[in-house]
């Protein structure tokens, strides 16, 4: 009798396993590193922008540093912290005839390592507050006529707003996408028939041939 493979994505086992798992379940923040980095790059970019005169006289060094921090922040929020902290992900896919599609996915399977409410709150607060701050910087740059920073501020706003928009789209569209995906997974055969087959043949645990 083959056991269903236990991996992180499908762990609905009823045995309240090891102490580690219990601790993980109780912890308010299950991905401390991801949470830290989610906030670290954004906040450092803002702090560097505000206090760049203290760090260095050179405009170029500040510009490059802030730009790199913003890019790392964009990449890590888009590719890592989104899927770890709230189980959402978005990307751009280009199919064979060159048309580009923006895909927004949301994860619904609850796992031991799924995100907690505290993490989700930190994620969304960080995601929303920072573009607002960069917009304030935009106005301050325009009105104080320090126009050499304008390019940087615009880059910051676009990168952070892109992530915000992508994740909001994921969140709002999540339900639709999941129902489409599951109907495709079970689409070809009837589920009741399979269940009855499983009950007849007691040795079979699962009877779904993976469609390829």
């Amino acid at each position: 009798m083959k056991q269903a493979l236990v991996d992180d994505t499908e762990d609905v086992s009823l045995d309240f396993g090891s102490e580690e798992e219990l601790a993980l379940r109780k912890a308010r923040i299950r991905h401390p590193l991801a949470t830290f980095f989610h906030l670290f790059f954004r906040v450092s970019a803002i702090v560097t922008y505000l206090f760049c005169d203290w760090f260095s006289n050179s405009f170029v060094a500040c510009f490059v540093t802030i730009l790199l921090l913003l890019s790392f922040d964009f990449w890590s929020v888009k590719n890592v912290t989104g899927r770890l902290l709230v189980g959402l992900r978005w990307w751009n896919q280009i199919d064979e005839d060159g048309k580009s599609h923006w895909v927004f996915e949301a994860k619904r399977v609850p796992t031991i390592a799924a995100s907690t409410e505290a993490e989700a709150r930190i994620f969304w607060l960080g995601l929303i507050i920072c573009p607002v701050i960069w917009t304030l910087f935009l106005f301050s740059t325009l009105f104080s006529l320090k126009l050499k920073w304008l390019a940087l501020v615009i880059a910051g706003i676009s990168l952070q707003t892109a992530n915000l928009y992508g994740y909001i789209h994921c969140k709002l569209g999540g339900q639709k996408t999941i129902s489409r995906v599951t109907s495709r997974l079970f689409g070809t055969a009837d589920v009741p028939q399979r269940q009855s087959r499983i009950s007849e043949d007691g040795a079979e645990e699962h009877g779904k041939a993976v469609p390829r």
Binding site: E10, V60, S71, S100, V210
Partner: protein
């Protein structure tokens, strides 16, 4: 005993087994479900390899639509920053701290790339916005190499010979950049419009080459 069930039994040579796990390894959008849980190191390595592959593709341009599909803007960012850094320290901005010059190079490259992309889309091109930005950005690589060579040559001296060497290098790299980008971009246009698309790209790389050639250190 149950004759009706004889049909229902599973014949021996059809294997009926599999796994019901939610991320089923099937076609493309579902495939990424399995990447929702991959370790971070895998994500980083995958993206780094994609960037490296594109750099190699620019050096040896071949028509490859698979390359275009997987666009990213890391390469253009790195190239833009390195080019802008190398263009610092020229005699034009000896008074201030190089601020405006640096931002100028940035704006020229990115704004120029956006304008070319808009132009090709208005002419009815089939390529997507970010793909085109990606290609134009990556094809700045030969010119960045030319800038590096120019700076090294200028360390040796700023006479006529060094100018001739720099001229040859910059012209060669300019040709390489333009050819590499048109190899990717011109295909997406109808045949009678290819020249209309190639001309702005030519101009774009010409402006960058001009900035490189006229760079003189203090």
């Amino acid at each position: 005993m149950f004759p009706g069930l004889a049909d229902v039994s599973i014949s021996q040579d059809i294997p009926v087994e599999g796994e019901i796990t939610v991320p089923v390894g099937s076609h493309s959008p579902d495939e990424d479900y399995s990447t929702l849980d991959e370790p971070v190191r895998d994500t980083i390595m995958r993206d780094l390899k994609a960037v490296g592959k594109k750099f190699v593709h620019v050096m040896y341009p071949r028509k490859s639509s698979a390359l275009l599909r997987d666009w990213d803007l890391w390469g253009p960012l790195v190239l833009c920053v390195s080019l802008a850094l190398m263009l610092q320290g020229g005699s034009a901005d000896s008074k201030d701290d190089g601020g405006p010059q640096f931002a100028e190079v940035f704006v020229i490259i990115w704004f120029g790339a956006v304008v070319i992309t808009l132009n090709s889309k208005l002419l009815g091109g089939t390529i997507s916005f970010f793909q085109s930005l990606c290609v134009l950005g990556y094809c700045v690589l030969p010119l960045t190499v030319a800038m590096l060579v120019c700076r090294l040559v200028l360390l040796a001296g700023a006479g006529t010979i060094s100018f001739i060497i720099r001229l040859i290098v910059v012209v060669a790299m300019f040709g390489w950049s333009t050819l590499a980008s048109t190899a990717f971009l011109a295909d997406s246009q109808p045949p009678n419009r290819k020249a209309l698309v190639v001309y702005p790209i030519f101009l774009f790389y010409f402006v960058i080459s001009w900035m490189i050639l006229t760079f003189t250190p203090q």
